[in-house]
């Protein structure tokens, strides 16, 4: 049921200031996106690496622990990443717009 994913994206997109959402697999290959291709590829590639690194940090500190959510606040945006075993969900929000 593709609609489940579709619904999720719509729900997130409905929030104020959300610029884009990307679904990426574990290898950093985008599956679904609401952004243009080049931006998507860039975000997917860079954030997959960052998330892997962040995850290894959390796990190295405590092997029982795991990363569940990553928020990167920049001057312009806030990037939110939710990592799971096989997939990554990335959302970009402009907090000033809210």
């Amino acid at each position: 049921m593709a609609t489940e994913v579709e619904d999720t994206l719509k729900r997130i997109q409905a929030h104020k200031g959300v610029i884009g959402i990307i679904v990426v697999n574990a290898d950093g290959i985008p599956i679904r996106t609401t952004l243009d291709n080049s931006t998507t590829v860039q975000y997917a590639n860079l954030l997959t690496q960052l998330t892997q690194k962040a995850r290894s940090v959390v796990r190295d500190i405590d092997p029982q622990n795991d990363l569940t959510f990553l928020r990167v606040r920049s001057k312009k945006h806030e990037i939110m990443v939710a990592p799971e075993k096989d997939y990554l969900l990335i959302a970009i929000q402009n907090p000033q717009e809210t």
Partner: protein
């Protein structure tokens, strides 16, 4: 006993022995053995035969010392050296006496039986050879014989046995040496001889009873010591040196006067004492501080990589992507579905947090915006930036107008005029005519020399750069003429960077330099209006009509297709405002001018032909005369202000279409194109044809420039002003629209300033109280809606901030010691606003406007527009109060008059009179009735008797 002493002694011994031998030889002579000759009478034994050699010598040796004390001492001396080394030592010293080195060849060694290291060895070196054998060898081998060098010695040898000694070490040069005397032979053969004798002597001494013999004085024998003593004596061995010094007699006893002098003056005045090593002083180094530090061994190494041939190469990569089909399958996978479902709450939490509040918002950063107005004291005054004055042209003359160059930054033009009143001017007419009237164009790059001088027929009181082409400048003369300049040829000069036009040596051949290259070029005007059609008074204000509109002969604003400024408005105190068109007039005159331009420039050198068609024949297209609404004179304008602004194209959109587009496209604008007929052009309906005029008498006149048909005379002329207010107590000197509100006008005149809003005709929305000094100029701030600058004749500049306070300036700063005539703030760049201030001394001051005065505060525009609205409301209230007061006043007056019993001097109509009489009669009846009722003469019930 030390070694040298021993040697000495042994030598002495030898010497004495030799002497002895000699004595003996002389005594006994010839071939007698010296031993025998030596024999003392007391010796017992005696060798009879000298041939006995060794034996005899031994005997003799034993016998010789006997009875001789000297010999005894010799024995003692010899005694400690009994070993053969003693001999060796002696030999080392030199060849023993009477010996000669001898070389024996192997053959000779064989013949004589003395083969080296066989017959003779180092231990036993001595070999005795019979003299006869040698003689035989002489005979056999003659010169080859090894004994040949000593042949004579051998032949003379007294005994038959000759001794040779093996010298294995070649101490004396050969492998053998030969004893050629008997003594030497003895010595070699029997070196121990004396020893044996000594022993024998000792034996003898024991036998002899020691008897004391008193020492006898002996004759002194010289041993050389007297020579030493002699040498020690000091004796004169040469003549003594005599020196005599002389001095002049009169200088004897005179005091000496020592003074410095140069060392080099006299030849031997300077004796140098150089350092040298003192050999008498010798300090041995005993102790030494020393340190050693271990450092790593320094290694130098290098590597060199192979040089590869550089090659261009590129790679291209692309991100991995799923195909649509793959995406679909992934999306359908339950993994992703559950993943998406799980993720949503987390995202919503985060997103909502951001929506509710921006937690990273830094309040401090946004705090400063509110109160940036006058917080910092250090940065709120006008800073002197530069000042310009030209000793020749502008000193002691007054600056009448200032204009910044619209496009080139840092270029400002000023008009200067004589500081004379009208009467003085007439008195000094000759002088005034002779001095050139100029506009000076200054650049910040050169504060001493103006970049350009614009020459005018008479003093310029106002001028302006053309907004669409800054190389065109229009100016208004004191004599009423309008002048045009074209500085296109010198535009580069203005654009040049710092001082380059002064220092440069351009590519000119030597000797052909232009002597005027360094002089400021003077630009002659290229057109001037005809005197008869010009103003009859000094032009006090001049302005280019904005480039999007033009006025036709009827004063109707029309579209200007070329978007080039081509019309000029001027005003002078001859009661009119004129509009001039720079384009050639239609008709035959134009053809002639074009022909003339084709022929080439007939103008004075360097004057472009841009406006040749206008020169001296220029007429205004529109004349706006300013009649007063009531009879009795006209308004004499000095300043005016129209609402349309350069660059504001808003009114174009609302133009009514008068023609089709194809015709419009064919039309061109610019200075040379003919003005199109009125029908071809769209009328700009939204342009307000009313404009403000400030007069010499301090009035503000609001008038429509469009002429209308006068109802009385039927003539077409400017209508009467909508209103005018004589509100200023002196001539108006500034009338300027706010750069932010095009309906707000600042008017400065006399001792006050006023702010007007268009459509409010009842009066100004703000009027200042009278200043203590006269105001000479004013200008809105180009960047802050609520700020304007007022210049005063005491040389100071007031800064007014309407949002700060309106009853007094927020800042007053003195700029010049003499009255200021004009000022012009200008935004040179985003970060630099400069204000040009001109004074009556001819100095142009450039002041830097501080940050607080150029940076608008937050919402300043809204604040100030709200303020104006409030003032408008107040004005409306004032008007309503005026009406109220008027009615009230009238009522009071009436009341007063009635009380005084004076009929109102108002003419009443008949009906009114009748009505009033009726009212009076009714009042009388009423009064009568009440009176009768009181008296009881009249009953209420009783109807009134019929009259």
């Amino acid at each position: 006993m030390s070694e040298p002493e021993k040697k000495e002694v042994s030598e002495k011994e030898k010497e004495t022995s030799k002497q002895d031998e000699k004595e003996k030889d002389t005594a006994q002579g010839g071939k007698k053995s010296p031993v025998s000759g030596k024999a003392k009478p007391g010796s017992g034994k005696r060798s009879g035969t000298p041939s006995k050699g060794n034996k005899g010598a031994a005997e003799k040796g034993r016998a010789t010392p006997k009875g001789n004390t000297k010999a005894k001492t010799k024995e003692d001396v010899k005694a400690p050296t009994p070993d053969p080394t003693g001999e060796g030592e002696e030999e080392e010293e030199g060849l023993p006496e009477g010996c000669v080195p001898l070389f024996m060849s192997a053959k000779s060694q064989e013949i004589f039986g003395c083969t080296c290291d066989v017959d003779v060895t180092e231990e036993n070196p001595i070999k005795v050879i019979m003299k006869a054998d040698i003689m035989e060898d002489f005979f056999n081998r003659a010169a080859v014989c090894d004994f040949h060098p000593v042949k004579q010695a051998v032949q003379d040898f007294p005994s038959d046995e000759i001794v040779i000694v093996y010298d294995p070490d070649f101490k004396f040069g050969q492998n053998f040496y030969i004893a050629i005397t008997e003594e030497a032979k003895e010595k070699i053969l029997n070196p121990f001889g004396p020893e044996g004798e000594g022993e024998a002597g000792a034996e003898k001494e024991e036998e002899v009873v020691y008897k004391y013999i008193p020492p006898e004085s002996k004759e002194w024998v010289s041993h050389g010591s007297e020579k030493e003593i002699k040498e020690e004596n000091v004796v004169e061995n040469r003549r003594r040196i005599k020196i005599s010094a002389r001095r002049i007699r009169k200088e004897f006893g005179a005091p000496c006067n020592f003074q410095d002098r140069n060392v080099a003056d006299a030849k031997d005045a300077y004796v140098e004492c150089t350092a040298y090593e003192d050999r008498t002083y010798d300090l041995k180094k005993i102790e030494l501080d020393k340190s050693v530090q271990a450092v790593p061994v320094l290694v130098e190494e290098g590597t060199n990589t192979d040089w590869r041939y550089p090659r261009n190469a590129n790679t291209q990569y692309y991100p991995r992507e799923f195909s649509d089909k793959e995406k679909e399958t992934i999306e359908k996978s339950t993994d992703l579905q559950t993943f998406a479902k799980d993720m949503v709450p987390r995202f919503e939490l985060a997103l909502q947090q951001n929506e509710i509040m921006d937690v990273f918002y830094i309040d401090w950063l946004h705090l400063g915006d509110a109160d940036g107005s006058f917080g910092n004291k250090a940065d709120n005054h006008l800073k002197e930036y530069q000042s310009f004055t030209d000793l020749q042209f502008s000193k002691d003359r007054t600056i009448t107008a200032i204009q910044w160059h619209p496009t080139i930054k840092g270029v400002v033009a000023v008009a200067v005029a004589e500081k004379l009143s009208f009467d003085e001017r007439i008195d000094n007419c000759a002088k005034v005519i002779m001095t050139p009237s100029l506009i000076l164009i200054w650049s910040f790059t050169d504060p001493i020399h103006p970049q350009l001088l614009l020459e005018a027929p008479d003093d310029i009181y106002s001028f302006q750069f053309c907004p669409s082409d800054p190389n065109i400048i229009c100016g208004g003369c004191y004599n009423g003429q309008v002048v045009l300049w074209d500085i296109s040829a010198h535009a580069d000069r203005l654009k040049q960077q710092r001082g380059s036009n002064r220092n440069k040596k351009s590519n000119v051949l030597p000797g052909f330099e232009d002597p005027n290259a360094l002089k400021t070029p003077v630009v002659r005007y290229c057109a001037v209006s005809s005197i008869e059609n010009s103003h009859r008074a000094a032009i006090t204000d001049i302005q280019w009509v904005p480039d999007h509109m033009e006025l036709n002969r009827m004063g109707v604003p029309q579209e200007n297709k070329g978007l080039q400024c081509c019309q000029i408005m001027t005003c002078a105190t001859d009661y009119c405002v004129l509009v001039w068109d720079t384009r050639p007039v239609k008709g035959p005159g134009q053809l002639i001018t074009t022909k003339e331009t084709d022929k080439g420039p007939k103008n004075p050198i360097g004057v472009p032909n841009t406006f040749k068609h206008l020169d001296l024949s220029w007429k205004p297209v529109l004349k706006v005369t300013l009649h007063k609404s009531e009879p009795g004179g006209d308004h004499s304008p000095v300043k005016f202000s129209i609402q349309e602004r350069q660059g504001d194209r808003g009114s174009l959109g609302k133009a009514t279409d008068g023609t089709d587009l194809s015709k419009e496209a064919a039309m061109g604008g610019g200075f040379y194109t003919k003005p199109g007929s009125g029908k071809d052009k769209r009328t700009l309906q939204s342009v307000k044809t009313h404009f403000y005029v400030g007069t010499e008498d301090g009035e503000i006149v609001y008038v429509d420039w469009m002429p209308q048909k006068d109802q009385d005379t039927g003539k077409i002329q400017t209508p009467k002003p909508d209103f005018y207010h004589a509100i200023h107590d002196g001539p108006v000197n500034t009338l300027q629209r706010s750069p932010f509100f095009k309906d707000v006008v600042l008017c400065v005149g006399g001792w006050t300033y006023t702010i007007w809003k268009e459509s409010i005709n009842s009066g100004p929305i703000l009027q200042s109280s009278a200043s203590t000094v006269k105001l000479s100029a004013g200008h809105w701030s180009p960047s802050r809606p609520g700020v304007f600058y007022i210049a005063k004749v005491d040389g100071s500049v007031d800064v007014w901030d309407l949002l700060d306070k309106t009853h007094e300036p927020c800042m007053t700063q003195n700029v010049s010691p003499v009255p200021i005539t004009s000022l012009y703030p200008f935004p040179v760049s985003q970060k630099q606003h400069l204000m040009a201030v001109g004074d009556t001394a001819g100095t142009l001051h450039i002041l830097e406007i501080p940050w607080s005065l150029r940076q608008p505060t937050a919402n300043e525009y809204t604040g100030i527009s709200n303020y104006f609205e409030r003032e408008v409301k107040r004005r409306a209230f004032v008007v309503s109060r005026w009406d109220f007061r008027e009615i009230e006043k009238r009522e009071l007056e009436q009341e007063h008059k009635r009380k005084m019993g004076i009929a109102p001097n108002v003419q009443l109509s008949e009906e009114e009179i009748e009505y009033r009489q009726k009212q009076e009669y009714a009042a009388y009846i009423d009064e009568e009735n009440t009176f009768l009722r009181e008296l009881g003469l009249k009953d209420d019930d009783e109807p009134l008797p019929e009259t």
